[in-house]
Point group: C2
DNA sequence: CGGCGGATCGACCCGAGGGAGGAGGTTGAC
DNA sequence: GTCAACCTCCTCCCTCGGGTCGATCCGCCG
């Protein structure tokens, strides 16, 4: 197993030093670079081989979230966000930006090291207090994906599922026909059988069904 | 800090023994009971003071998910799911049932112990590989809560938002009228101005918009 | 006070959507 | 070879949805 090369990004000297000291004690982990802001991270990644970026959120010039987004766009290394503030915007922003981890600075050194290894092998880690909030936030809207993937979905033929996805995109029959290289009549037929199979009344309910059952194609 | 009383629930003798051995080594953790299925867990909780239940999913009679649901209904202790199989149904089921944790049986003893402490203090923990899947599953549908709540939403009047929620429920104008004690004409007017303000073509696109912007009322 | 925007209703028109029904082609299972 | 399921396309018909115009009532603001 190779050494994990970590880049520490934080605008506070003290934090960087602390992290360096913590990580230096670990076998298999090496602090291969430091950065004071997001721009420095991007620049450093051009020149150095890095496996995991340990990234603060609040930094001058380019902040941690934006830097994470940039890293992900160009297929860079994994990013583990390390922040003082357990704010929803940070969490959502980080996850959307493509971060593989989200930890708070009050995490134990041991957990931090463990998290670095987790992130490095391609998995993800989220701080327990944050996980708790995320769960309580997502539970109310889980009827869709949870226990009720609605058996009726299985009734649809592959083609019908495709059409349903288009319907759920807000397209008219004519638009779907054009996009799928079909006649409008065919699209109508498909939509009709979708509605019949799912016992729905109109395409509006089909859209609702699609969203509730996660069949809407990724925007 | 008091001792954490743990109940180990698994139908396999070997697993229970292993867990007992692992946990016995830990200070501040005590295996206060064992159960072979969900029903036994429920029964035991009546008679014993338990802080955390370590719960397998696959068990005879009452399975782990169902047991978790029951425990949560009656305001019982925290539940930490411990399973061999990293299946989506298990994860969603467990979370919906109110579990505070979801770990795989290949977790290190150290992480398991840590997780028990996390769950006991009220936070939540999810296995890294599972977290990864959950994230990749939820990212595509994050435009809603994340950074882009679409400024156009602000254009809608409160009443229009109500109507939009009903539309997003798949209701026809007539149904909305009945439900909101309005004439169908009024509903039409509202829908029209919604479409105009949002630059949408028809109610189908309005439903899409509602879902993308989290305006669909909780089912 | 006048004016503006929201909420409530009505009347009209017409185009898209959906039901019913038929029809040809393909594939794969039995 | 038969049958079922799927995909493709068509016609006829009628309802629902949406645009447009107008109207009343209310509350708020300058």
């Amino acid at each position: 197993m190779d050494v994990i090369r970590v880049l520490v990004a934080d605008d506070q000297e003290l934090v960087r030093t602390g992290l360096r000291l913590v990580l230096r004690r670990e076998r298999g982990i090496e602090v291969a670079g430091e950065a004071r802001d997001g721009q420095e991270v991007i620049d450093l990644l051009e020149r150095q081989d890095i496996d995991v970026v340990l990234m603060d959120v609040q930094m001058p010039r380019v902040d941690g979230i934006e830097a994470t987004r940039l890293i992900n766009e160009r297929g860079g290394p994994r990013v583990l966000i390390l922040t003082t503030f357990d704010l929803d915007e940070y969490v959502y922003g980080a996850i959307k930006a493509g971060a593989s981890g989200f930890l708070l600075k009050d995490t134990s050194p041991q957990s931090l090291v463990e998290a670095i290894r987790v992130v490095h092998r391609g998995d993800a880690v989220i701080a327990p207090s944050t996980t708790r909030r995320l769960i309580s936030h997502f539970v109310p809207r889980l009827p869709a994906c949870g226990t009720a993937p609605d058996a009726r979905v299985a009734l649809l033929s592959p083609r019908e599922r495709e059409v349903l996805a288009e319907v759920a995109g807000g397209l008219s029959n004519a638009e779907i026909a054009e996009r799928m290289y079909l006649s409008e009549g065919t699209v109508r037929t498909h939509v009709s059988s979708i509605l019949a199979k799912l016992h729905l009344r109109d395409r509006v309910q089909a859209v609702v069904f699609a969203y509730e059952n996660n069949l809407a194609r990724p925007t």
